[in-house]
Symmetry: C2
Subunit: 339 residues, 2 copies
């Protein structure tokens, strides 16, 4: 039976097409009927022609939905459960998963396109988490952020060792950067400096807990961060973009002995000799969503955080092309697609 | 009045010469009559022609000795005290010192050659620590290691987040690498894998707490480390050399989600994109000796650790040239010079 799903054909060309309905292939698989999915900043690398698209492929890696079928070996979720899963699946049992490195699971990987009406989830037991009950519709955007951006912002803060009393600067005012602001504030940072030039994003950063906004970029931006941090730079910098300029901005904004948490897909090198001489830590990568999911689901479910505010555009799945355009043109911070 | 001190003239040419006796220049200075000093692996970069020597300069940055004169502002040490100081001086009061980044003190720096009979110590209050009393001669080598190598090995382990139960691999079997083995064992690592091909160093590593020795290098060495660590690599790798091959060895030997502590002076880049995709932390730099000195002095003074075992050659200061030759030719792990 066919379903509808997004396929990227080439830069600038994402279409909803009829695709084969997913089916259980392994006993550890589950099938999820998507309730909501969204477009990620990382999807834009291909959309903008900055990463190759050798052939048309299904796209998307964020989702919440309802389990419609579970393989014979699946124990932790049941048909009918409302579930969230990370942007990578993981078995939860390998030595790396047990050490909290679920994004690097020995038997994990990606999906066959989550901007779709249904998705096959490998390693369902290690990947999916059921909500405590049927969520109110108003919670769904925030739950959806746990599939990637909120956990990724959280990972930036964890990777940079953010804790009570610290000064934190966030490079990047996309959805991940805004979630990183929220994460740093939740972790008790005393100063949370959001680097953003756009009024709507500045407002959201402030709502998420930013204590200062720096609109300047590059050297001027780093100088402003130093002005705000006893002249030396922030204890922690959360790099949520990945471009070379953002990475260098992070290095210029952190104090000696400080820590950089990196979650933006890396494009461009880092000055590792400077990191050494200034005793700066560099840590991060793809977020181990499953490591954070229980804690963050609780924060969302109990209304302590509302990361879903990053969605400033909601469209039906069939309008996926407009979702990409709006994000590419920066008309939207992040676009949610109702499936 | 003249004193004797080592001067490097060019690669391969270190001589003891008569130099002017140091004098108090600032009220925060102290003068230390050197009891013992030593040659550092990092001194060999210049000795081997791998770092430039534009003109003859005094050399050496490790010392223990007795305070012979203290500036008017010095409060924490007194004339007659036996003292240890780190290889960089630091004021102890700037914002970076207060955050534990004393190696990056805003008002700190190096010395005018510590392989000498006497040394001017700027920032004496923030730099020098007095021993609880006059040390037994047998303790002096271990106390001397606190000026650099033992604290540097400790910094590698701290930077890599070593803690109880972890698997740790140490790249480099020089004095710093051996001290890093000792540090990891002290911190409760369950596995401490020393990478070394030389029997004498293997024995010392074992005495310092290594649980396994890997003699292989490069890919074969990393494969052996993985064999010893559930197939995935060590939780933490301590990189104590600095060459590109040692740095790549560290990356190849660490598990995804693990941490690399770097203390070898960096020569060559790091594959930062691989660090990202594998979620590997990179942290380290010049050791903030003062941050560790109280704790490590206590461990040495009470006989809990004996890092002075790294000195396998002791010479009078006048034989400094032989000390460099012996280390350059790897006849000695580390040479102590009695002043």
């Amino acid at each position: 039976m066919p379903m509808r799903g997004a396929v990227i054909h080439r830069a600038g060309d994402v279409r909803v097409e009829e695709r084969e309905d997913p089916a259980i292939l392994e006993a550890s698989d589950a099938i999820v009927r998507t309730v909501a999915t969204c477009v990620c900043g990382s999807d834009l690398w291909r959309y903008r022609g900055l990463a190759p698209v050798p052939e048309p492929v299904p796209i998307g890696h964020e989702y919440v939905g309802v389990v419609t079928e579970a393989g014979a070996a699946v124990r932790s979720v049941q048909v009918g459960d409302f579930v969230i899963g990370g942007f990578l699946h993981s078995d939860g049992t390998c030595v790396l998963c047990r050490k909290g490195a679920q994004a690097n699971c020995l038997h994990g990987g990606g999906y066959d396109g989550c901007q779709a009406e249904a998705i096959r989830i490998p390693n369902a037991d290690g990947t999916l988490v059921s909500t405590p009950g049927e969520p109110d519709a108003v919670l769904i955007p925030s739950l959806l952020t746990l599939s990637d951006v909120m956990c990724t912002g959280w990972h930036a803060a964890v990777s940079a060792g953010v804790g009570p009393g610290m000064s934190v600067a966030v490079v990047g005012d996309g959805a991940v950067g805004l979630c990183a602001v929220l994460a740093a504030a939740q972790m008790g940072a005393e100063q949370v400096i959001a680097m953003s030039r756009r009024a709507a994003r500045q407002r959201l950063a402030t709502a998420f807990g930013a204590t200062a906004i720096v609109a300047e970029r590059d050297d001027a931006g780093a100088a402003r961060v130093r002005d705000l941090t006893s002249g030396v730079g922030a204890d922690a910098v959360l790099e949520c973009v990945g471009t070379e300029s953002a990475r260098l901005q992070a290095v210029a904004s952190v104090r000696a002995g400080g820590q950089i948490g990196v979650v933006g897909l890396p494009h461009g090198e880092m000055p590792t000799a400077e990191l050494f001489w200034r005793n700066i830590a560099l840590r991060g990568g793809p977020a181990p969503v499953r490591a954070y999911l229980d804690q963050l689901l609780d924060l969302v479910w109990t209304g302590q955080i509302e990361p879903g505010a990053v969605f400033d555009l909601e469209l039906p799945l069939v309008d996926v092309a407009e979702a990409y355009r709006a994000m590419d043109e920066r008309r939207a911070i992040k676009a949610l697609l109702w499936a």
